[in-house]
Symmetry: C2
Subunit: 149 residues, 2 copies
């Protein structure tokens, strides 16, 4: 059983994966890929727009959002929704995970697959429901905030 490809080829490969499909490699896309490559975990579209602007002040939001759509079709990123209700992009290939969000301090932590295993399995057993963990955000109070009550 082969291991998943490492990060590097994934990002460098995007250019070719685009071209294979008759899509194009543009400076704007290069910048977004560059930003995504150094992003760990999850970001909102708006955050990505900002980070791209840090690289190129001329960055146009619609271009970023359109490219994000393309990248999602390519399977390079996926999107879900955070506790704030904002669209949130997950950068691959990370292990599939959900998020914990503290409604008091606003902190965010990753919820790894093993931790959610029971839930995922029991929902599958009882309801035939296939959980998409990367799309799940669990809200509540983190240890520190719970203690402060």
């Amino acid at each position: 059983m082969p291991t998943a490809p490492t990060n590097q080829p994934l990002w460098t490969g995007v250019r070719d994966r685009l071209r294979e499909r008759g899509l194009r490699w543009t400076p704007q896309r290069r910048i977004l890929i560059e930003v995504l490559a150094r992003t760990d975990g999850h970001v909102t579209g708006a955050e990505l727009v900002e980070r791209c602007r840090a690289v190129d002040a001329e960055t146009i939001p619609s271009t970023v959002y359109r490219t994000l759509d393309v990248l999602e079709e390519l399977g390079v990123i996926r999107h879900g929704h955070g506790a704030n209700g904002r669209e949130e992009f997950h950068v691959l290939p990370e292990t599939e995970h959900g998020h914990l969000h503290c409604s008091s301090c606003g902190g965010t932590w990753e919820l790894e697959a093993p931790e959610a295993k029971d839930l995922v399995e029991s929902l599958h057993r009882s309801r035939g429901f296939r959980v998409d963990l990367s799309h799940v955000t669990v809200s509540g109070l983190c240890r520190a905030c719970a203690a402060r009550d």
Copy 2:
């Protein structure tokens, strides 16, 4: 151990709970309460605005949203976020529950506390995290859509 109060007093009591705090009972609030009283589970703010409009076409969105804030402070409703990322209000006193959302057919089901018990407890044990189940939406594929793959 006394049982929780029944629905009826909760809703009729709102008027008095407001007045106790020096807040007021207005026709607009009466309509919203009426709409909420016949709502089971969860609704978005926009949906509530529409349902109020069905009762009184003159309903103004800002009034509804402001009243929702007040009602949340009163503890009559709570809000979370659905799979679409929209703000979502949970009407009390229902049993605390989260939601399952099928990303294919758009269906929604309630995730009852017992089903999430393992997750809730293990997060508390391992991280000291106190899950607010009513704020949780689990996305994935329902049985029917999963079968259709």
